[in-house]
């Protein structure tokens, strides 16, 4: 069922990478044990800024997870064949991203040993409860889809019929996870930065930009490292999707800024002032807020000029810009600056500490390891399958390779 053995063979490069990730994870786990014994006081969070990097990164990763829908939907609903070779990569990315989300929540909890209380004493009026439900549901759905379709592909049979409705279900479900995550914030009365109806749309728009950006980067990397190519057309289509999403995201941000600054209601403006202008209070995150806005605007140029977007080198840089802009914006600033100023008007400094950052990197390393292992398995299957379709005349000429050899070869190269 899991085809784990395919992840157990690989080149030296593969193992060096895996061991490096495992080392990172081990170091981060050490810091986590420290956090567990000492308390969340090891982080830079405080009474006033009670959510920080962990919850920010959680929010951002929910977006990355939800963005799988941007390849699944065109492929399954509109029969967009270009995405045929990319869909499985997108789905696996979603599985890794959701796992990271759950880990970020877990490391942020003051009492992780009571995590099951959420299900033992379910509170249906709490958005957090529904967020847990939708995230775990999304995880189960995506694991099922990826395993079943990969299994069918490996055996060269049609996937079972029941998987189709599950795939269709995954589309609204993906939207729901990020909507519910936005509801976590926008349903809170006292935090004006978050209490806006466009938060969920903005979350989705930024998700559909950042997720595809990461997926494009991964596809380019996969092509560099292996013989698997998702195809230029797929990358171009995805880049177009990313462009639309990014434009909408910037548009929605401008809507927020207009509403705040034209109405000049202090409650609305002060968060933005502290985030982007620095005219309200000393904000340690000011340069980061400015950087993310700069990257967002700057990335629009290569995105909107088709010739630049089609150039893969420029596209790779653009994707990196989009991804990091949104990772800073959603993954740090939007969450942390919601607490600045606090309801009592205090500006509390927030600077993530070394343990906090190491644990965050550790969760990222878990995600990277999952992506590595998943892609290894998926690509081993895909490459072996493709290699086994060698035209008969090539067999005769001895040029072809059997599936088994191709498999072995692909294991070497992946």
């Amino acid at each position: 069922m899991f085809m784990l053995e395919k992840a157990m063979v690989g080149s030296r490069r593969y193992w060096v990478w895996v061991c490096a990730l495992l080392t990172l994870i081990a170091v981060a786990f050490g810091f986590y044990l420290h956090q567990l014994s000492y308390g969340l006081g090891v982080t830079g969070m405080s009474r006033d800024v009670s959510w920080g990097l962990y919850i920010g990164q959680f929010t951002f990763m929910v977006g990355v997870a939800a963005s799988a829908v941007m390849v699944v939907l065109p492929y399954y609903l509109h029969n967009h064949k270009d995405f045929a070779r990319m869909t499985i990569l997108g789905e696996f990315l979603a599985v890794a991203a959701v796992t990271m989300c759950m880990l970020f929540i877990l490391v942020d909890m003051g009492k992780p040993m009571r995590v099951f209380n959420v299900f033992l004493y379910p509170q249906f009026h709490s958005v957090m409860f529904w967020d847990m439900v939708s995230l775990s549901g999304y995880l189960v759905i995506n694991i099922t889809i990826t395993l079943v379709s990969l299994h069918a592909e490996q055996q060269d049979v049609h996937p079972p019929r029941w998987i189709k409705p599950v795939i269709l279900l995954s589309i609204p479900w993906a939207i729901s996870i990020h909507t519910v995550t936005a509801f976590l914030y926008c349903g809170i009365p006292g935090r004006t930065l978050w209490r806006t109806a466009v938060l969920a749309p903005r979350f989705l728009a930024s998700a559909f930009a950042s997720g595809p950006a990461l997926l494009i980067l991964l596809c380019l990397l996969v092509r560099e490292l292996t013989s698997y190519d998702v195809g230029k057309k797929a990358i171009n289509s995805l880049a177009v999707i990313m462009t639309y999403a990014m434009v909408i995201n910037v548009f929605l941000l401008l809507m927020e800024l207009f509403t705040a600054f034209y109405s000049q209601v202090p409650e609305l403006t002060e968060h933005f002032k502290s985030m982007y202008l620095g005219t309200v209070g000393p904000n340690s995150l000011l340069p980061w807020g400015q950087l993310s806005v700069f990257l967002m605007i700057a990335s629009l140029i290569p995105l909107l000029v088709p010739t630049m977007r089609r150039n893969e080198t420029i596209l790779a840089f653009t994707c990196a810009m989009v991804f990091s802009a949104l990772c800073i914006d959603k993954g740090v600033c939007l969450v942390v600056c919601g607490f600045m100023p606090s309801p009592l008007g205090t500006m509390t400094r927030y600077v993530p500490t070394l343990p906090e950052m190491t644990i965050t990197v550790g969760v990222w390393a878990v995600g990277a390891l999952m992506v590595t292992v998943f892609y290894k398995i998926a690509l081993s299957v895909e490459i072996a399958r493709e290699a086994s379709y060698v035209p008969a005349y090539k067999y005769a000429a001895g040029e072809g390779v059997t599936g088994l050899q191709a498999h072995a070869r692909s294991n070497q190269s992946v």
């Binding site: 069922m1 899991f2 085809m3 784990l4 053995e5 009492k111 040993m113 009571r114 995590v115 099951f116 033992l120 299994h151 490996q154 055996q155 049979v157 049609h158």
Partner: protein, 331 residues
């Protein structure tokens, strides 16, 4: 049918233990005689089995190989999967015993209607279930040391802290308790629902599963629901291991069920398939190095063969060969 009879057998044993616990004259039997007898059967039986295996001759070098054998220097051999050194064998055994390497390789054949085609696919569920069960079992057995040893060793408490990480109810829920029951139920349903596995399942296969399930369930019930007096349990346990047994006044009926089933398991183990616990170490297919190209493996019951080697032959006819002008290996 096999499943049903073995289930009934376990039920009968459970019922007897339950009833016996109620009768005070039976308590000595259940608390003292039975555990001693079972332990004796376990130890003697296991030693007997191992010595019997050990004294069986191994006529052939028959390791299972799952990788490239060591041959020419420029062919990369896999030193664990097809171990040719003692170290390789040790590592291979360790992976087999700790991680169930051969079950990891488990596959499933099925006929798909399209075609129809015969398909082989890997199937890790059995591996996962077995791993979950055995590791939980190990942790649970070690955990029971807290009843037999005073003062309780540190590592037991540390293990307990990890196992009971989640703060659910009191006493805190232990993850292994859940895992072992889920794993056993999975292993049982596999035998019952897969027609192929069901066909080859014997009375003893079900008996082992029901026995282990009975032990696990009675233990879980005692820990979380029908409490027993732990102090009395510990007194009984220490009394047993220090050979000064005492019969506590009352512990709770469920305890007798648990103890009787455990005694049953101990006594039954050396004479059942469960003895693979010792057998795994003595399987020639696992513990022999794949070195047939380097070392001569002699069948122990071969009669002594008089060997006349080439060197001896050359020495014998040295002069004649030289005289005939033929080349010699040794001048």
């Amino acid at each position: 049918m096999n499943a049903l009879t073995s289930f009934i057998l376990i039920l009968v044993v459970t019922g007897l233990a339950f009833a016996g616990g109620e009768i005070s004259s039976c308590r000595v039997l259940l608390d003292v005689v039975l555990p001693y007898a079972a332990m004796a059967a376990f130890l003697v039986g296991l030693v007997y089995r191992v010595l019997k295996w050990a004294s069986s001759p191994v006529p052939f070098n028959i390791p299972t190989t799952c990788g490239q054998q060591k041959s020419l220097s420029w062919i990369k051999s896999s030193w664990i999967e097809s171990a040719h050194t003692k170290l390789g064998v040790a590592v291979r055994m360790a992976i087999e015993i700790l991680l169930f390497r051969s079950l990891f390789r488990n596959s499933r054949a099925q006929i798909r209607q399209e075609g129809p085609r015969l398909l082989y696919s890997e199937n890790k569920w059995l591996w996962l279930g077995a791993l979950a069960f055995h590791w939980s079992m190990l942790v649970i057995v070690l955990r029971h040391l807290r009843f037999f040893v005073e003062p309780v060793p540190r590592f037991i408490l540390a293990m307990d802290a990890v196992d009971g990480f989640f703060q659910i109810s009191a006493p805190q829920l232990l993850v292994t308790d859940v895992v072992i029951i889920v794993a056993l139920l999975f292993l049982l349903q596999r035998r019952l629902t897969d027609p192929k596995v069901r066909y080859i399942s014997l009375f003893s296969d079900y008996l082992a599963l029901f026995l282990l399930l009975g032990i696990a369930i009675s233990g879980v019930l005692m820990r979380y629901f029908f409490k027993v007096d732990l102090e009395a349990v510990k007194q009984l346990a220490i009394g047993l291991v220090t050979f000064s047994p005492i019969v506590p006044a009352s512990i709770g009926a469920l305890f007798f069920v648990h103890l009787t089933l455990v005694s049953f398991l101990l006594a039954y183990l050396p004479f059942s398939k469960l003895v693979h616990m010792g057998g795994i170490f003595l399987s020639p297919t696992r513990n022999l190095p794949n070195d047939s190209r380097m070392v001569r493996h002699v069948n122990p019951w071969n009669y002594p063969v008089k060997v006349h080697t080439y060197q001896e032959w050359e020495e014998e006819f040295h002069d004649k060969i030289k005289a005939a002008g033929l080349p010699l290996e040794r001048e």
